[in-house]
């Protein structure tokens, strides 16, 4: 098992190619947070030809909807949600330059094919480890769709955020190893 520290957003596409299925990563830097309802709104915006509320090129999206923050906390519990539900929206986002997705669970064949085509990587965070991940988040800001509550789009800054390369940019999947 290889261990690597990765700074986000990625500076170049070569970094993606070096990530191999099963690698244990510690992520630092900026990540956007979006889950079901935000993906639906993004898809609606794209179908109308409208711009997105954040840049996708070389960026990372974390599939997550946090618990409310207590006074003094940056964010409430913040573990990954199941990525499969975002599959129908994902190839379009990869086409637009999205490079890193962080969630949990399997991805569809369409997503994997798009990852190979566009050079994207899918990382699995440790499901349920929500208090742990909240402690890895240094700052957070709502950047769109505040009305969606826990499903709003956030920009977060993370430090030593653990994740495993679940599907690499060559389409190798940790879920096929059984």
């Amino acid at each position: 098992m290889k261990e690597k520290t990765i700074d986000l957003p990625l500076k170049n596409e070569e970094e993606i190619k070096e990530l191999q299925v099963g690698d244990w990563l510690y992520l630092n830097g900026t990540i956007y947070v979006a889950r079901d309802a935000a993906h639906l709104r993004i898809a609606e915006r794209l179908s109308l030809g409208e711009p997105l509320p954040f840049p996708l090129k070389n960026q990372a999206i974390y599939y997550m909807g946090p618990a409310p923050a207590k006074p003094g906390q940056v964010i409430g519990s913040a573990g990954p949600t199941t990525a499969t539900r975002m599959d129908r929206y994902t190839p379009q986002l990869l086409d637009m330059g999205l490079k890193v997705m962080i969630g949990k669970g399997r991805r569809s064949a369409a997503v994997i094919n798009s990852m190979i085509e566009n050079g994207g990587v899918y990382l699995a965070a440790i499901g349920g480890a929500a208090a742990y991940y909240a402690n890895c988040i240094q700052s957070q800001e709502v950047i769109a769709y505040e009305d969606l509550g826990a499903e709003a789009i956030l920009k977060i800054d993370v430090r030593n955020f653990p994740a495993v390369v679940a599907i690499d940019s060559f389409g190798n999947s940790i879920y096929d190893k059984e």
Binding site: A67, A124, G128, A129, P162, E178
Partner: protein
């Protein structure tokens, strides 16, 4: 006749919502520690280690173990002679859920209509199950069920001729397919028998049994062991990353059924099998 005031119920539900979300039952925690003793790979060991660290952090920092603080399920077991005073019991339960989710900084995850999907903003309503018993008692079991694992659950009306083999095939194939999405290592609740709706309720009820507490009937106990062995032999492992522990336990509950049927339900729970029980009488 025993009397119970709805204010007592409301207060208990409020506290139980917070406790269930902050503190994992010790029997569940112990099984994750057990899994830590026999990891197949460093990846499995590290994954379990973060799971355990998270459980400790949530407890010491008094915050939700998982951001999916679930849909609330309340089991009420009460003596048939109990008198509930001061208002309608379900209003009290819902006031308790709303207060617990607000005061505990828990995520509100419930939508009012499954099609229109507008958030109720107080995590209400709960799903409530009642059981009347002859003796005097009033016992609440409250479970918070995340939907990563709830979505991985399945129900099938098998034929009697499918037999034990059919049950084993259905349970293991559904669990192995869904384990990565459902946050393995899993607690697997299996219902066998009854009717279409009864078998689903049995599977959920099976998740409330303390881990390692075997079923009283030996043939069911054997089936629980067979299923656990087969699921863990799959090598799917924690989060589907590969490893020795795909499930922490398999619990089965059964009920008599019709001569023509063999209903089977699999209710999957992640390793965070969160529930609390309290007696008010």
């Amino acid at each position: 006749m025993k009397r119970i005031h709805v204010d007592q119920i409301e207060k208990a539900i409020e506290e139980m919502c917070i406790e269930a979300n902050y503190v994992l039952p010790v029997d569940v925690k112990n099984e994750i520690y057990e899994a830590m003793k026999t990891p197949a790979t460093e990846l499995e060991a590290r994954t379990l280690e973060i799971m355990l660290k998270n459980i400790e952090m949530a407890e010491t920092q008094q915050m939700a173990i998982c951001q999916d603080t679930g849909m609330v399920i309340v089991y009420i077991t009460m003596g048939q002679n109990t008198c509930i005073e001061g208002g309608y019991i379900e209003d009290a339960i819902h006031r308790g859920v709303a207060a617990g989710y607000e005061k505990g900084y828990l995520r509100k995850s419930i939508v009012k209509d499954p099609i229109l999907r507008e958030n109720t903003k107080n995590n209400c309503p709960a799903v409530i199950h009642y059981r009347l018993v002859p003796e005097d008692c009033f016992r609440l079991t409250l479970s918070v069920k995340g939907f990563g694992s709830e979505n991985a659950s399945q129900l099938k009306m098998l034929k009697p001729s499918d037999g034990v083999e059919g049950i084993v095939d259905f349970v293991t194939s559904s669990v192995i397919e869904k384990a990565p999405n459902a946050c393995a290592p899993l607690v697997v609740g299996v219902g066998i028998g009854g009717t279409f709706e009864k078998v689903a309720a049995l599977a959920k009820q099976a998740l409330m049994r303390p881990l390692k507490q075997a079923h009283p009937e030996s043939h069911i106990q054997n089936l629980e062991e067979t299923l656990l062995q087969k699921i863990n032999d799959s090598g799917v492992g924690p989060m589907g990353f590969g490893g020795n522990t795909t499930a922490l336990a398999v619990h089965i509950e059964t009920y008599p059924t019709h001569i023509a049927g063999l209903p089977v339900a699999v209710n999957i729970c992640c390793y965070l099998n969160r529930h609390v029980t309290r007696s008010l009488l």
